[in-house]
Every structure is written in structure tokens, then in C-alpha cells.
Symmetry: C2
């Protein structure tokens, strides 16, 4: 069993690759829900949706989020009604949130709802929210306290962040299957997602970080930082705020208590040498995933490296 921990954008790209490299019954994806948002009264789980759409081969490649060939007529009309419109939901995408919200209101936990949506989408890989309990990534900024979507989408991450908190994390329990799948995995892969706001919330749920520390499976991460900057988004700035350099060394530091293998971009080969001197197993690959071929190659490379590390670890 291959277990992936992931957020949305960059992680979804790797998952798109992995879906071609791992039989679906052998793939478990544990997804960040810290940036879930109540939008128009609906429960939106952006990262879960990106992963579901990626695994269903319905993710918009053009946008990197939402359903391919979606339209935005309802959104335009909401704007016309003076309703908030800075968070874009497509007409097809909307059905996911309407269905999820209806199922949650009927009393099902998010993990069961996610499994049901996955089944309807024809997704056979197991997609697990990190927790069925509500954890909200909140950012204390110079413009007040914002939830993740307010910070990331509304403010386009152009406000200065003083601190990142995961509200509710202290009392959250990992969703059923999360800890077990990490413990019994053949390999665990941390997708190239933001270490602070995508992987961070997952690690903040009590029990998950411990499972990563104690699993016999090799734990590999693909660096979302290339050449000292995030491939996309504010990972670099947020890492600095946490006291980690916005380099592959910072990524290694974020995961230092459980990481066995770091896959970094070819561009970072010099920094990779330094990291190796510190004893970490570091491999270089092309980590910029433009084409489906790039995604598959990186997925294959990471998977093989992780499975080989298993031999070394045990």
C-alpha cells in the first residue's frame, strides 16, 4: 500500500501521476482539510475535491482546480445578487458541495461522505480526509485574522502573516484509516504541497506525526521548493515565518523527525549535496510537473526511490 499526504494544487499533480503508476486498490491519499470553507452555506473541501477530480481524471488542467469544462453561470448570478464572489465555484463543481453538504447534514462524517463522492466519481483509490473533526487553518496577518481561503484567494496571499494556527487541531482525531494506513504502508509520500498550510494541518492532528515517526515504511517527500522559491503559492514566505529557510533544507527541517528521503529538483543539486552531508537521503529529479508525462515520471521516480529506501530502512 502506498500512502500519500497531500494538499491541493501541487499535490494533485503528483497524484495525477501516481494514479497511472499505482493500482487504485493500493493507493491511499490522506488529504488536508484545514482550508475547508463554508461558502454560500455549503461545505467546500478544496483539497479533497482537487484530489477526487485528479483521481477521476476530471481535474481542470487549465485552472489546476475544479472540474474540467466547467461553467460559472451560477457564480456570475450570485455576483448579480450582491453575494460574495471571490471564491469561484463552477456549475458542475457546485454539485459536489451541494451533495457533500446534504450528506454531512444527514449526519454522515466527512470520511464517509468523501468515500461516497469518490465512489460516484468512479475513484477506486482510498481518499481520506485527515480528520472528520473540523480543523481550520487561521492566519494572523496585518489585515486581521483570516481563514486560509480569505488569505490565499481573496487577498491573493499579499498580506503579511505573523502566525499560522490550526484551530481545533488539538482536539481533532485522525479519520478512521489514517494512522493505520501510515503504520502498515509500504511507502509514505509527502506530496510537493505547502509544508506549512497543506501538510502542516495534517501533521497537527494528534497521532499522525507520531505514526510517521514510528512507521516501518520509508517516508519520502517531494520538495515544493525549487531554487529557493515555492513552485507556486506562498510556501516560501510561510516557511520563513516558521523559522525554516525557504530552501530544500527548510523542507528537510519541517519533516526532520520522520523523513527518510527527500526528492528535490535537479536545479538544487548543489544544495542536495549539503543535505546529504547531514545524513539525509536526497535524490534529484525534474520536479516541475507541466505535462502528464512529467507527473508520471516524477511519481514513478519517487515511488521507486521510496520502495528502495524500504530495503535500506528495515
Amino acid at each position: 500500500m502506498i500512502v500519500v499526504l497531500t494538499g491541493g494544487t501541487g499535490g494533485a499533480k503528483l497524484v495525477q501521476g501516481l494514479r497511472h503508476e499505482v493500482p487504485p486498490d493500493d493507493l491511499t491519499v490522506i488529504v488536508n482539510t484545514g482550508d475547508d470553507i463554508d461558502w454560500w452555506g455549503l461545505h467546500v473541501s478544496p483539497d479533497i475535491d482537487s484530489i477526487l477530480y485528479a483521481l477521476a481524471d476530471q481535474l481542470s488542467l487549465e485552472r489546476g482546480w475544479g472540474v474540467e469544462n466547467d461553467s460559472f453561470r451560477c457564480l456570475e448570478r450570485m455576483k448579480y445578487f450582491g453575494q460574495p464572489d471571490w471564491f469561484s465555484l463552477g456549475d458542475l463543481d457546485l454539485a459536489t458541495h451541494l451533495a457533500r453538504t446534504a450528506l454531512l447534514r444527514s449526519g454522515e462524517p466527512l470520511s464517509a461522505v468523501t468515500a461516497e463522492l469518490a465512489a460516484k466519481l468512479g475513484v477506486r483509490a482510498r481518499v481520506l480526509p485527515m480528520s472528520d473533526d473540523r480543523v481550520a487553518t487561521m492566519l494572523d496577518t496585518t489585515h486581521g485574522t483570516l481563514n486560509f481561503q480569505e488569505y490565499f484567494v481573496r487577498e491573493r496571499h499579499q498580506v503579511d502573516v505573523r502566525a499560522v494556527r490550526f484551530e481545533g487541531a488539538d482536539h481533532a482525531r485522525p479519520a478512521a484509516g489514517v494512522v493505520e494506513s501510515i503504520k502498515t504502508a509500504d511507502a509514505v509520500i509527502l506530496a510537493p504541497s505547502n509544508p506549512v498550510t497543506s501538510i502542516g494541518p495534517i501533521l497537527a492532528v494528534p497521532g499522525i506525526r507520531e505514526a510517521l515517526r514510528h512507521t516501518d515504511a520509508p517516508v519520502a517527500a517531494v520538495s515544493p521548493i525549487v531554487g529557493g522559491n515555492a513552485v507556486s503559492g506562498p510556501a516560501g514566505l510561510l516557511m520563513k515565518r516558521k523559522g525554516w529557510p525557504s530552501t530544500i533544507a527548510g523542507v528537510a527541517q519541517a519533516y526532520e523527525d520522520f523523513l527518510d528521503l527527500l526528492v528535490v529538483d535537479l536545479e538544487d543539486h548543489a544544495d542536495a549535496d549539503h543535505l546529504r552531508e547531514g545524513g539525509l537521503h536526497v535524490l534529484c529529479a525534474n520536479t516541475i510537473m507541466k505535462s502528464l508525462e512529467d507527473k508520471q515520471e516524477l511519481a514513478r521516480f519517487t515511488l521507486h526511490a521510496a520502495l528502495q529506501a524500504r530495503g535500506v530502512k528495515s
Copy 2:
């Protein structure tokens, strides 16, 4: 001030005509909310929406409900997710329900929400729900107890009805402005809507029927029954169940305690003579509204007849 009591389909047609005959500031439309439904977790008010769209010149003429040029992509997707799909909401229409539901959840009464939606749609006529309190038209049928939409849309009114009830009506209060507008109107017009399930719920709200009985304004009704049958829908059958014939005499009977004037179709001229013998003021016109011209002509005819009756009544 002209006050109209109405349901959706047939009533919306007359309102489309009236909007060309009455200055918007002189028009108040009191709308049935007995067939409101909770659908996909959203508060849908089908009759209010038909009236708002009619007044905004956005009502689909082809369908008779919903927004013109709407699409149904979200609905198709809900079906794909195994969610109920027998009640059709278009992608543009959906925004009305999302906005309404959000505003209701923020604590605004339905009348204020309706006023806000009307303003956004550029509707200057006053559109009032019959009540801010929940009244639900329930039908006891051979297939169990159904709400109005289950009966009308899901079962296509093909089940036998034993009784019609208006749940919550006993304790409902008329929305602000409803009783006052009837009391101070120059004329009150009951649209050619189903007397049992469209006008019936309005009359079941304590205080509204009394206001109609005691207003100085003439009260006119346009018959939804032509030649012994409803122009559309199950009005005939439901009237029989109430003990009223499904004729213009039945319509007169439904409204007998307050009706001053009944407008019936030319086809019913013989029956009209009989009714006149009973002392009711009855006028014949073309009541089948196919074109906008038909709608305007019937609106104009009814309006003038009602205003003339004012002289007779006072």
C-alpha cells in the same frame, strides 16, 4: 394601489401582463408560499421566484418557470452523484435559492429577503410572501402524505388526493404589508391560480380572508377554470375534493364570501349567465394567455373592470 394574490404558473402570466398596465410603484403582489420546499438544503420559493422573474422580464416563457436561457449542468451533476433530481433547478435559478437561503440563515425574514432579491432583479413592484412563517401545503393521498412539490412535480399529480392541509397556517401571521395593502387597495385581483393549492394557502393565513371580506376595494378573480377544466394543473380535481364543482361556479363558491367580480373565459358565457342570476358580477374575456398581448389584454380588461366595480361597490 393594485393588489394581486397569486400562485406561480397562471398567476405569473397575468402578472406579466399587469406589469405593462400598472406603474410598478402602484403594484403589490401577495404570493403563495405553501409550496416552498427544502431542496438540496436550499429554501426554494417557486411561486415567489416565478413572480420575481416575471416582473424582471426574466421568466422562461418556454417553460413557464425558472430563468430564461438557463442551463441545467449542476442538476445533471447532482443526478450523477445520486442526489434527488426530480425538481429541476437551473444554474442561474440556483443562485436565487443559494442567496435566499444564506440571507434567511443570517436571520432576515422571508419578506425582507424577497425585497432584497427583488431590488437586485430591478423589480420595483412590491412582492410580498403571504407570511414570514412557514406554511406547508400537504396532501393526503393514496400514496401517503406528500408536500405540494412531491405531489405536483414528482408524482405529476397522478395520485388520488383525499385531503389538502396547510400545515402551520393556524399560527402563521400575514407578512408585514399584506393585510394593510388589501385594506387600502383600489382593487384586489385574484390571479387565475389554483383556488385550492395556490390561493387556498394565502386565504388560510389568519387575517387575510377577513381583510378581503372587509376591504372597501372591489375584489376581482380571474377564473383558472375554462369549460369545466383547469387551464393547467390539477385545480379541477382538487376543487371537486373540496366539494366545489370544477366550473366557474366552483371558483365563485371558493371565493363567495368576498368576491365582487369574476372574469371568466368567453367559452363559459352560458355558465356566466347562470352565475349572474345568482347576483355575482361576471364578465367574459379571452383568459387563455398565450402571447404577451393576450396577457396584457386580460390584465387591462380585469383591471378596468375591477376599478369600475369600485364605483358600484362604494
